[in-house]
Symmetry: C2
Subunit: 335 residues, 2 copies
């Protein structure tokens, strides 16, 4: 049986929610990942030192062993340098949401006025805190990410020493930015390496493939695959795995988010093997993130096996991507 | 109270289904429309003289009075001229579906080989039977209609005496074809005069706005409005109202189709009033179709009143567009 081993996988964009949902789903990521960058869009958002510490404790309490590290983020607001100095040792990045652009982002940035943001972003540069950005405008759904490129350019030009991570990129436009500015990086989800808009609304309407940013055109998928499969050194895996209760996905007005946490490594292995790029997966799923963020994750060795695996219909009431379908790789062992 | 009167409204693209669904929904259209062009995509498709006659009888039995005429269509296959001569007096048009492109279209055209279709299409030209076409390729969902334009051009050029109706157009590309070929016409739905893809997946995922062809970009909506509001003489209203049971719309893998039959005239009046084009609505919703098809519908006079109307949550288990929302016009009287 063909196997493949990965060391210290990292999910550099993860939603763990809170309360019972957190307790149910955090162990699924902790099982196969050494660590994950935890998104701060709770209600209320994670925007104080106390909130960061308390949320981190709740996450650690929710996972069954010591082999998983939650890398914490702060919800972007205009903070002063003294505050950032007080919190820098507790966080790995700050996550910026345009206001209202996705789940629980109402308290995000209303307009990208560089001068209003300068104090915060210069302090972040000085303190070497990366800025993670949900890069969408409020324009037409297929254009939102591409329209945001001018804001990425503005940020990259004005703060050349700030590491800026374009989160969950979905377009060729974003891929093309990677080699244009030395301080722009990106995460890519596994579902955006598999889906186009055809898989969301091209046949039947598929709520479990509905996410923000929406999956785009075939040429965008090709561009994402090109940098992921080569493990472009500025690109990292970030699942954006986003659990919602089943009834919120399978109803009128379904919520945005694809839940991939328990199957992301299996799917990534299948994709990279299919394109004969398995040797690059280690960099995409761990090494690049270690280099970009300067983090040293806990040791963990995951062995995957090439055999049919039927994705469960749900995990504690959350329906995963490809529920009930058979994928080509399974987790064989975790050490 | 402001009112507006329409004479002999016609819905030139309507799905009435069969059986209990037919009995439940046909009266809703018959209440306000003098007639409608009835789509033939039943299971099995309406493709014999006996099927046309029998379906027409079932429709007439389902409507409560004599003031509604179902204009029948035949499901396109390659028919010989003798057959078409036998059926010409019983049908108003023939409807062509690319195979598998939408609900119950599996028996449609596999490939557009003009020579294989020549006998049928020349006979239709001679017998003055219009060809109605669901114009989508099996390509990427946002490109399917635009990609089909080359097939419309092929048909229009090869059969200059055949009236070809581009059904439920959704793109500027299709609008631009209207003035390019004298024998190309179009229907436009009311939901495609209101929605873009943003209304389907731009916020929450909205199954009751999910249809084929999918609603497109803002510039496409503008192009559709431009010809509808001017009542371009080659453009007709056709609702493509397509009922599905509620459970088939509000579940994983929701079926395509927007149900507008009971509210289409009210919405059209609201749109045309909003753009100060009420004087053109009569042509869009009846006169153009009479001229294009050479049909003389039964007399019917509909008066609409400008007052808030709350759209019912469902009609016999079918959820209409804008269920529970308030629209600006209501039916005042039918004579």
């Amino acid at each position: 049986m063909k196997t493949h081993t990965l060391l210290m996988p990292l999910d550099m964009h993860l939603h763990l929610r809170d309360g019972v949902m957190l307790e149910n789903i955090a162990p699924l990521t902790a099982f196969t990942y050494s660590g994950a960058l935890i998104m701060p869009n709770l209600v209320p958002p994670v925007d104080t030192l106390a909130a960061v510490r308390s949320y981190k404790e709740r996450i650690i309490s929710a996972v069954p062993n010591d082999y998983f590290e939650p890398f914490m983020t702060l919800f972007y607001k205009n903070y002063d340098k003294a505050f950032l100095e007080s919190v820098v040792d507790e966080i790995t990045a700050i996550k910026l949401y345009p206001a209202g652009i996705t789940t629980n982002s109402e308290g995000g940035v209303e307009s990208f006025n560089i001068e209003e943001m300068r104090t915060t972003l210069e302090a972040m540069s000085d303190l070497e805190i990366p800025l993670c950005v949900h890069g969408e405008t409020d324009g037409f759904v297929m254009d939102r990410e591409a329209e945001f490129m001018s804001i990425y350019e503005l940020l990259a030009q004005n703060f050349p020493n700030l590491k800026i991570v374009m989160e969950h990129i979905t377009t060729k436009a974003a891929v093309d930015m990677l080699d244009k500015y030395p301080n722009l990086y990106a995460t890519i989800t596994v579902h955006h390496l598999l889906l186009t808009l055809d898989d969301v609304i091209g046949g039947m309407m598929m709520p479990h493939h509905f996410c923000k940013p929406i999956a785009k055109r075939p040429e965008d998928l090709d561009a994402l695959l090109s940098v992921a499969l080569e493990a472009h050194p500025k690109v990292m895996f970030g699942s954006d795995s986003a659990p919602h209760p089943q009834h919120k996905k399978e109803s009128c007005g379904c919520a945005a988010g694809v839940f991939t946490a328990p199957i992301s490594l299996q799917l990534l292995t299948e994709i990279f093997e299919q394109f004969d790029k398995l040797d690059n997966l280690q960099a995409f799923v761990s090494d690049n993130a270690q280099n970009i963020y300067g983090i040293c994750p806990e040791f963990k060795e995951i062995t995957l096996e090439k055999r049919p695996f039927v994705v469960p219909q749900n995990y504690s009431g959350v329906v995963p991507m490809y529920a009930g379908e058979t994928i080509g790789w399974a987790i064989e062992s975790v050490d």
